[in-house]
Amino acid sequence: MNKNSVVSLVLLSSFLGACSFDSTDYFGTTVPKHKANEVWLNNRSEPQWIDPNKANGVPDGHIARNIFARLTQIHPITSQPVPDLAEKWEISEDGTKYTFYIRESKWSDGQTITAHDFERSWKRLLNPATASVYASLGLVVKDSSPFFNRAVHVKGFAENIDVDALIEVLKEGQEIRIDKASDHAGLYVYIEDNDQRRSFIETYNGALVNGQELEAAITDSSVVKAYALDDKRFYVELEDPVLYFLSLIEFSIFAPVPEQALVRAKNETGNEDNWTRPEYIICSAAHCLSEEKFRQYKIFIKNPYYWDAKNTRSDIIKIQMVEKETTSVNFYRSGEYEWIGPGELPTEYTDTLKQYKDYHNDPYLGIYTYIYNVEKEPFTDPNVRKALSLAVDRDKITTHVVTAGQQPASDVVPDGLTGYKSGERKMYDPEEARRLLSEAGYPNGQGFPKVEFKYNTQDTHRLIAEAVQQMWKTNLNIDVELTNVEWRVYLDDQINGNFDITRQGWIGDFPDPYTFLDLYMSYSGNNHTRWVNHKYDSLVQEANRTADYDVRNKIFSEAVDILMADAPVLPIYIYTRSYLKKPFLKGFYKDYQDHHSWKYMWIDDRWYNEIPTKEIDDTPKIGS
């Protein structure tokens, strides 16, 4: 290496040290790069689906939610569900029957949105052929399950016969789930295997059993208790009184889709899925897609037909797809967009970015946990699980590793959710941890088998894992090997139980403790801990059927006590969402689900000239 290169490296390092960040209050540019009627945002990734019924994942939802309206919307200040496409609703006394009155609103092609659009779309969502990943959230609707699961609908028999005897005949001594239909005579026979199902139908359709001539066919959508009473009224009946129903249906999958666009795309391209392309798309919310460049950007323009269009603040929304975290920070800094997009900031940057006024930090409805595979040695022993859990200093993680204000968690439900009070538990006790570990037969970590911690390849996960690995080593003298696996393998390994310890982040689907507690039910497909406790199952189910919040939360607490005493899961922290937002972007409100409606967003044009000193009125307007 010659002298010149040494000199240049020294220069480079001094440059890097000196100009790392600007010294002003703001991070990067403070003047919009575009006209005042535009808003530029980041979406992070190219969405998989913007079809609202099929949308899954954050990049999909961010777009779908803003171009397809639902019956309700979440008020940006109060966080309560308020009317959107439904003008008002009536709820039966037992809390299971809802009648929604659809307001006068139009699709972006000028056609009226009717209750029939809702019926069609909800049934499309629940149709297994639609293959919507989130469709199971719709199973709260009465009699949706046989349709969604393609159960065989057996009917045609008289009402007064011995139905139980008939069921026994149909079962043929096998373990088949058969439910009685709720309102009229009929049976739902759940058979998973296609061939078996087909032969079952062949056998029983038109067959004479116990003196009854049966009809057997795959359940059609007519049984689902969500339908239009007329053009303006949409009726929904629920299995149970679901307290959070009005918040739940704010989820993008419950938006109506424009039949006319689907038909046109199908006719012209042969593929119905093409309906969300700019040439075919018809929207129902404040903005609509007008132009797209795959994996670069999408441009949305104001939809004049939206019922509340007068309150839509910006004419054009441009979203970009910048995926890599550090790249997205660079783009933000040079003013390519005003908001860094849904998701997290690079963990290592937090401390530095905190110094700027661009940095914001909101509570977020999600929990970061480590889970043990309770079917694998040595984690079959609850003492081992508890020992490892007690050896993790969660305070240290949230003060030194993830520093965006995350709260260390001793509960799997965030505090304050519908009045739920998180339990106070001892989180860090290395003494007790060592005692428990030696009780389990591993004094001072001796003889502890080689175990592996699996996480999906991402920087934050790695940083936390490295810190926890070191805590286990120092406090318990055990070696845990870290393995990062790519996303698909990580998912596969969780589903198949191919792990010792792994991380699991869980984002609530709706603001209710149930969305977090459902995760540890013995029958839940998401319960990767494989922990089974029937007492817990029945408590959570009981609470979910209870209409009184106080009673309900008390039962939930009881269930959580059982869960935490057995420690199949190690809650680490409650998420926050930290993000960067340009100071001139207004109409951007805190949201615990990281949902931000474009229709409220606007550019404070004073920033084109100078940094304004006075605050400006920034209250959201809905309706009149």
Binding site: L16, W49, Y134, F294, M321, F331, E336, L491, G525, N526
Partner: protein, 305 residues
């Protein structure tokens, strides 16, 4: 010549078939499904998803159908972007990557050949040493270090170029330099080596003896022969550049084909990864053939069997 090209083309088709065959089955061996989600995917939904892509059929049928479609030029449907065909994704991304690759190549050839010629002509002088040291630095500096440094300095500090993205010529400068520098370094070394070898050869001495000017000797005679190793190198290099770089396109958020090498494999987007493997392999094979043909044109001593 024609016979040679035809023969090689036949071999290429066979090679390509083997590659398709092996890749098709190997990618299916990899753990993980294209449809798994963080939340459980209901079995009914999974069935329909698999039926949509024909994954429910036996592997042999799937391969047969796939080959049938390939012959018709249909590379299938992406699982990650279900509204897009693989053909469409490649058609959107490949041109961008090729434009970037072209400018990277331009940078590499201009800088590399210049440095190499300087090194050879001014052999063992300060010029030679600094050119070759710089080339060595270029080889020793990975793109994931060079890229961020360029961004930091030229995009965020001097504000000369955008930090990434796509749209104008300005967007191309930093990624093209990042991508092309290592190639420039190799080309510089190869040019210098090739020229040195030729300069010592007999026909150059003859040319000099004939009284030709040094400049003419260098450019007309030495350069033509000295560039041969660069041509060999350029074949695969062009293939690499034209199908893109995972790292550079990720750092600069270029909407090209490069990131798919990793992303499509990670997403288990079976048809997309197959499509990319096919495009890449075909590129490489064709370019290698092209190199051999060009070789024959530049160097008349080479005869095709």
């Amino acid at each position: 010549m024609l016979k040679f090209i035809l023969g090689r083309s036949f071999g290429m088709v066979i090679t390509l078939f083997v590659i398709i065959f092996v890749s098709f089955f190997v990618i299916r061996f990899a753990k993980g499904s294209p449809f798994s989600q963080e939340r459980e995917v209901p079995p009914e939904v999974l069935q329909d998803l698999q039926a949509r892509y024909g994954f429910d059929k036996p592997m042999s049928t799937q391969f047969y159908n796939y080959m049938k479609n390939i012959v018709r030029g249909d590379l299938g449907l992406s699982t990650k972007y279900p509204q897009r065909t693989v053909n469409e994704i490649i058609a959107i991304s490949l041109p961008k990557t090729m434009v970037l690759g072209f400018f990277a190549l331009l940078w590499a050839v201009i800088v590399g050949v210049t440095a190499g010629v300087i090194g050879a002509v001014k052999q063992n002088t300060k010029w030679d040493y600094s050119a070759m040291s710089l080339a060595m630095v270029g080889i020793s500096l990975p793109s994931f270090v060079l890229g961020p440094i360029l961004i930091l300095f030229f995009a965020l500090y001097l504000l000369w170029f955008p930090a990434g993205g796509w749209g104008s010529a300005k967007h191309l400068v930093l990624p093209a330099i990042t991508l092309g520098t290592i190639y420039a370094a190799y080309i510089a070394r190869l040019t210098r080596g090739g020229m040195l070898e030729v300069i010592r050869a007999n026909f150059i001495r003859t040319a000099r003896a004939k009284g030709l000017k040094e400049k003419a000797v260098i450019w007309k005679h030495a350069f033509k022969g000295g560039i041969l190793p660069v041509v060999t190198f350029l074949g695969p290099a062009v293939a690499h550049l034209m199908v893109g770089s995972v790292v550079v396109e990720k750092i600069f958020n270029t909407p090209g084909l490069g990131p798919y090498f990793v992303d499509a494999a990670f997403n288990r987007d079976y048809f997309l990864i197959m499509g990319i493997v096919i495009v890449y392999s075909a590129f490489l094979l064709v370019l290698n053939l092209l190199v051999d043909v060009i070789y024959g044109i530049i160097d008349p001593r080479i005869r095709y069997e």
